[in-house]
Subunit: 190 residues, 2 copies
């Protein structure tokens, strides 16, 4: 299994996102990513099944963080406010990744197939969030509507944040977007 490489996974991710940005996702090879990271191709494949998995890791850490944040929300909280609180709580995960998140988003935005993959991932996230709400006792269709409308608000916040991930506060943008969602849903926004 070769030598232990300090933070090999993080170095590979950084190198991959740089190369996807410079040459495009399709033109980048695992070999080039490993070279840029100063590691071997074998090490790349110990961490990622293929170059797409760098962008879409298994296990969905965001979902885990969301479900964890939801568990901290008092049970009497309205479903839409619970979703807002969970998304604000999970925002840390993005803050920690800062510039990596911005690079990842630029790569995805430039590639139709990756955009589709991202859509599917976000839909799975909304479905999981609806499931977590049902487990808290929220009935249908409130669980689904709160999760899906909430993900729409999160999308608005995320797109504002990604322009300047080091300078802007995602958690605050999430809160603002939920305020806007509530205004729109109650017949405002014209």
């Amino acid at each position: 299994m070769g030598r232990w490489e300090p933070n090999a996974r993080g170095r590979l991710e950084q190198a991959a996102l740089e190369l996807y940005g410079e040459h495009g996702f399709d033109a980048t090879t695992a070999k080039q990513i490993a070279e840029r990271a100063g590691l071997t191709e074998r090490t790349f494949f110990r961490h990622f099944a293929d170059k797409r998995e760098v962008l879409f890791p298994h296990g969905n850490p965001l979902l885990e963080r969301l479900v964890g944040a939801l568990a901290d929300v008092p049970p009497e909280t309205a479903p839409i406010d619970a979703v807002s609180a969970a998304l604000q709580g999970a925002s840390d995960l993005f803050r920690e990744r800062g510039d990596l998140a911005r690079r990842r988003q630029a790569v995805i935005a430039a590639h139709a197939e990756l955009r589709e993959r991202e859509l599917i991932k976000l839909a799975a996230l909304a479905a999981a969030l609806a499931g977590a709400l049902r487990e808290r006792g929220v009935p249908e269709p409130a669980a689904r509507l709160a999760a899906e409308a909430g993900m729409a608000a999160f999308g608005v916040a995320f797109d504002r944040w990604i322009v300047d991930p080091e300078g802007l506060d995602l958690s605050r943008l999430v809160r603002d977007a939920f305020t806007e969602l509530k205004a729109v849903a109650s017949g405002g926004g014209l």
Copy 2:
């Protein structure tokens, strides 16, 4: 170009949906579809590029109907109510298709790749709806939030309707789902 076949496209669609339901989407061939419809394979390929296009036709007639219905909504209508009215107006399209819509949905529900394709189509529909709202003068993020939250409400209505498309009124279910969306977004639904 062979003889003129009365309603060839409709007969091919009906035959395809029957066969996808009976044998699964993957196991069905264009030849079998043509045979079931009493037509030639050549006629099938005059109407559809492949067997997937039967489920996802070019041109998206629902989008055209939606944009047309939106044009009939008075300009002073709140964005969320304009989306509701447009989706209620476009419901006719489903009513006309009745049992075909139910069969199509069952085929898609049974097949992971088709479910992903449907998600991508619905996201494109939400984006187009947001664009149509912007053209009516609705600012962002209200346009996007109204379109995406509205599609969530439509999804709830559609899933209720598809159980009994001949007996239930989709337009009314859409109206009800928007009422539920408004309640959830304003902090209800617990």
